[in-house]
């Protein structure tokens, strides 16, 4: 460096570029220039990742100064849209940009917020698993003030997330995502869960600590991922056969191990295992109370499940005076009915799923599965307890985790169910050491997972299913992806739109199936921190559909493939320029389990570049210009900016009648946060947070676990038998059929009380045949894997990230097994073509031994053609190949991120 800086400071802020955050950092600023990112060492004591940030945060300096940034509002001058159409963006003033947008918005307000099909005329898509909300200031308040907005045009949700886990996880144990209790876990079976790449700072730290402590992790996946590299054992499994592996594990637990090695007390008292199931597959219920019955060993007679002092039989068949109610309340039986405990049903159901059976399917030796199952149970410590913050809890240090593509799409239900059942058999669900949920996004309140545990039907936790009864089920979706109509599990909260079958919105634009109102193009589409033209599937088709959207407003960092179709580009302050306060701490995905909770500030580290504006100021201006200021301000007061500004304990609410500056709004939020964290003792505002960066209070570790909340309320985990799901599925089928809607029938088959193994890999081979090709011509599975360096951050155009990511194998092309490649005459660096019956892409061969011979791997998501810098990478993406397909959509509305492909050498090394 040349000379000493006139002014030098270290500015605290947060990084929430990926779902594994937020994490805390500081930036060294000299003479007003951001120079270097460093951890926030002051946060080391409260942040479970020791106040550190991952590699992505180090891209933020270049992100700020990237010469390719959009630095002024732009408007399109070429009315034609398409990949091959140059948009002709020209700079305009903010005033003109707001005029153009407000004119459209006010026109919509004048003509009605919904179109003829009943869909919102305004749509908005945000990427990054909810992380954009930590960068969009008060824009959520604007959307709340606006009214109905379609947020169901996916940019990866459903097909690239833990979709089945999100939905079933929330149902079974308030687990939007699932994590081991890593700090005390001893044994993890990880089926494709790529924690070391996707678990963020905290996940990496926790697992590293655990490895030193002696944690053994068995990594079961088709290729040797970063996580596999850090595991004790790699078990290469055939893609999409994970459910069979888990079924074999359960088989060993149920049929090859002494019953006493299971956690029988847990099964009897905290699950529905003793519930009696009738001949029609529904619980036998007490005729008087309609409560499910169990067989009381003490009285030797059936009693309602919640009878005090009862000793329920875990196994056996019994005859009891009971009723059996089916779908729509149908009375299927009444009188002396024969019933079998749910547990016995499970035992019978799993009897044929032996390791030998699974070995054929998974291409994994039966002995391996048997050994893993036995190690799992040996490490489960059934019967042991541990004291946490003065509370004695069961100690079960074993966990099973599932990765993307394992826990979504067809087979996702079976995997999630089998995982949850397997851990519950040893009582390792929601107890110290075991398998835990992280947070809730469908249940409420979102900020209080433990508080979301409330009593529901049949002794289980309440769950906000979308109704399937005749009276309340609606054939008229509120948004285009029809989540409320098709996916009861998706609930109907703020996150539900993005957790519906988001690809259906795209698919139905060119043909809505019978029974649904014709899917229309939204009149305005807001896009922020998402690039579905790269991150979704069949990207060429998706980009083409986007080109037909009539008016797109893109909050743009640089030009990209999605905003290539935009009409207006709005440059907002990026990570190091904007201002926002967010919640931190508590428990949250991916592995963020804190001993603190509170708030952190993102503050302008450097002055905003060019004419970029803070998102909050943009939102306020839009509110003013569309006559929504009062409701916008009210939404902020209610908590749309992250926390309510007025509660019973404090009042920092803003005057709803007038516009407020960014700093005024966030000063009020900071004061409210101070009051919340200190129980009203403090009211420090923005200046305090600018100096300190964050403020927290203790968060008890007992709230990491759901078990105490269930025990307190006498509730049970809804396992293993899925009577309610079965009923919901039956009812949904009836509703759809009543409307002549039969195109969702295969999805209805997922609603099984005890899911059977289906030929999941075969579904993808059938998809090849359905495309008019021969399955044998597409003999490879193409899968993807997380790139920690690139994922989520919209940082594909950042040179530093590109440089350091190149140190991690696979970033340069398509990973192929070395022997497979040799057989095809492919050498390292050769140009290869990867094709499906419909699409083809090309890339360089990266030869490795750590991948199955029948599997190809494309790390991350590339194939950019508009994003500056990234468009020169010449790295292929599977997203160009994977079709949007109803056949490959499961009942939750998700698809799995893999495809059958052919492979051929087409050129030599450069």
């Amino acid at each position: 460096m040349t000379g000493a800086a006139a002014t030098a400071k270290q500015v605290a802020t947060y990084c929430y570029q990926c779902v594994a955050g937020p994490d805390l950092l500081t930036v060294r600023v000299e003479d007003g220039v951001a120079l270097a990112v460093e951890p926030n060492f002051c946060a080391a004591a409260v942040h479970p990742g020791a106040g550190r940030v991952c590699v992505k945060a180090y891209g933020l300096v270049q992100k700020t100064y990237n010469p390719h940034r959009v630095l002024s509002p732009m408007k399109r001058t070429n009315a034609k849209k398409g990949r091959d159409e140059e948009p002709g963006f020209v700079p305009i003033s903010w005033d003109e940009a707001f005029d153009l947008i407000a004119e459209k918005l006010n026109g919509i307000r004048a003509s009605g917020l919904l179109d003829a099909s009943g869909y919102p005329k305004v749509a908005a898509s945000f990427g990054g698993g909810g992380t954009p909300q930590s960068y969009m200031g008060t824009f959520p308040a604007y959307l709340a003030a606006w009214g109905p907005v379609d947020m169901g045009f996916g940019s990866g949700q459903g097909v690239k997330c833990y979709h089945s886990e999100h939905l079933y996880g929330e149902l079974w144990h308030r687990a939007f995502t699932v994590s081991p209790d890593t700090p005390s876990c001893r044994y993890i079976i990880s089926l494709g869960s790529n924690t070391e790449a996707s678990g963020g700072v905290v996940g990496v730290k926790r697992h590293a600590d655990a490895r030193i402590r002696g944690l053994k992790r068995v990594q079961v996946e088709p290729h040797l991922s970063v996580t596999g590299a850090c595991s004790a054992e790699w078990v290469p499994i055939r893609p999409k056969t994970d459910a069979a592996f888990l079924y074999a594990v359960i088989h060993v637990l149920l049929h090859e191990t002494p019953r006493a090695s299971l956690d029988l007390a847990f099964l009897k008292g905290r699950t529905a295992s003793p519930y009696l199931v009738g001949a029609h597959g529904y619980y036998l219920r007490d005729p008087a109370s309609a409560k499910p019955l169990v067989w009381d060993r003490v009285l030797d007679r059936p009693v309602p499940y919640d009878t005090a002092g009862a000793e329920p039989a875990l196994e056996g068949s019994f005859t009891a005076p009971a009723i059996e109610r089916g779908a729509d309340g149908e009375r299927l039986g009444d009188g002396a009915l024969a019933g079998t405990t749910a547990f016995s049903r499970l035992v019978a159901h799993m009897s044929s799923y032996t390791p030998e059976w699974a070995a054929e399917i998974c291409d994994v030796p039966a002995a391996t599965m048997r050994r893993v199952a036995n190690e799992f149970i040996a490490q489960a410590c059934v019967g042991q307890t541990v004291e946490i913050d003065g509370m004695v809890l069961p100690f079960r240090p074993v966990a099973i985790t599932l990765g993307k593509t394992v826990n979504n799409g067809w087979g996702g239900y079976e995997c999630c169910w089998a995982r949850t059942v397997a851990v519950s058999l040893v009582g390792a669900l929601e107890v110290p050491g075991g398998t835990l949920g992280t947070t809730v996004r469908l249940n409420r309140p979102m900020s209080d997972r433990i508080g979301s545990v409330t009593p529901g039907v049949d002794g289980f936790m309440a769950y906000p299913f979308n109704p399937t009864d005749r009276e309340h089920w609606s054939p008229r979706p509120n948004i285009r992806n029809a989540y409320r109509t098709l996916v009861p599990l998706a609930a109907n909260g703020p996150w539900s739109q993005a957790l519906g079958p988001t690809h259906l919105a795209w698919m139905f634009l060119d043909g809505t199936p019978e029974g649904l109102p014709a899917v229309t193009f939204p009149e305005i589409w807001f896009v922020y921190r998402t690039n579905p033209a790269i991150s979704f599937w069949d990207t060429a088709a998706l980009a083409e559909k986007m080109s037909r959207f009539p008016f797109i407003v893109a909050f743009a960092y640089t030009r990209d493939e999605t905003n290539h179709m935009a009409d207006i580009l709005l440059p907002e302050c990026t990570d190091l320029e904007g201002l926002q306060l967010i919640r931190i701490g508590g428990t949250k995905y991916v592995e963020q389990f804190w001993d603190e909770e509170g708030f952190a500030l993102r503050q302008p580290v450097v002055a905003a570049r060019g004419e970029t504006r803070d998102f909050t100021d943009i939102a306020t201006e839009l509110a003013q210009r569309t006559g929504l200021l009062e409701s916008y301000n009210s939404a902020i007061n209610r908590g749309a900016a992250g926390l309510p500004l007025k509660t019973e304990r404090y009042d920092f609410s803003i005057d709803v009648a007038k516009p407020h500056s960014r700093d005024e709004i966030w000063d009020a939020a900071c004061r409210a946060a101070s009051a919340e964290v200190t129980d009203g003792a403090a009211s420090d505002g923005l200046d305090w947070y600018r100096t300190h960066g964050f403020r927290t209070r203790p968060f008890t570790r007992t709230d990491w676990y759901l078990y105490p909340a269930l025990a307190r309320q006498g509730l049970r985990f809804e396992l293993p038998y899925q009577e309610r799901l079965y009923r919901v599925g039956q009812e949904l089928g009836r509703r759809l059929h009543e409307r002549g809607m039969t195109w969702w029938d295969s999805q209805l088959s997922e609603y099984q009380a005890l899911p059977a193994w289906k030929d999941f890999p075969g579904l993808w081979e059938k998809a090849v045949v359905a495309m008019g090709a021969r399955a044998q011509d597409f003999p490879f599975w193409l899968v993807t894997a997380r790139s920690m360096q690139y994922a989520w951050g919209a940082n594909v155009g950042i040179e530093l990230i590109h440089e350091v990511a190149a140190n991690v194998a696979g970033h340069g092309g398509v990973v192929i097994n070395g022997d497979t490649a040799a057989g095809l005459g492919i050498a390292e660096g050769d140009l290869v073509e990867i094709r499906t019956p419909r699409r083809a892409t090309r890339g360089r061969a990266v030869l490795r031994q750590g991948i199955r011979p029948d599997t190809l791997l494309m790390v991350g998501q590339f194939d950019h053609w508009a994003t500056p810098y990234a468009r020169d990478f010449d790295v292929p993406s599977m997203n160009a190949l994977v079709p949007l397909s109803l056949e490959l959509t499961d009942a939750t509305g998700s698809g799995a991120d893999l495809v059958r492909v052919g492979l051929a050498r087409v050129g030599a090394r450069r």
Partner: protein, 213 residues
Amino acid sequence: MTRWAMVADLRRCVGCQTCTAACKHANGTPPGVQWRRVLDMETGHYPDVRRAFVPVGCMHCDAPPCRDVCPSTATRKRADGIVTIDYDLCIGCSYCAVACPYQARHKTDRASFAYGGGPSPAEAARFDEGRLAVATKCTFCVDRIDAGLEKGLTPGIDPEATPACVTSCIAGALHFGDVEDPASNVSRLLAENRHFRMHEELGTGPGFYYLWD
């Protein structure tokens, strides 16, 4: 005496390259120059394959071959074991680069910036013409160590006095400290775990230890 050394715990490292990026920030190295990086190594044959992540960089050897060959005495070894380069003395002959068995030395002949063309404000602020056409390498963030010591801080314990790669490591894989002090963090790690030094057979005496068991 003090002997500063780095300890990398291979059981912890996940190859994320956070240290690589943090080093680039801390030292303002130009594109393509990585004083610290993490190797992604694979060994074996399917299905018996292992993949390992291995941080590398200047090993600050006891008997640094780079120092011995340096004709200008630009490369020296301090009493505390840190191998330094005096950019004003270096003639850029690269003899040190071919003498180093750890491929730790770099030479950039011309100014280069992340996006071609001119420097960004951050790059302009960091640019140092004196680093062009001379050998550069990891310094163990010697400036941080010296400044920290002056303030009474302990390198390896106090972040301000510790190499940036160590303080950034999200896995807690990198450690730094005084191996001559039996009570230091690194001495304890070396005493409690099995370790090796890379290319030990060459007799360079690297000040960089790898824990493996």
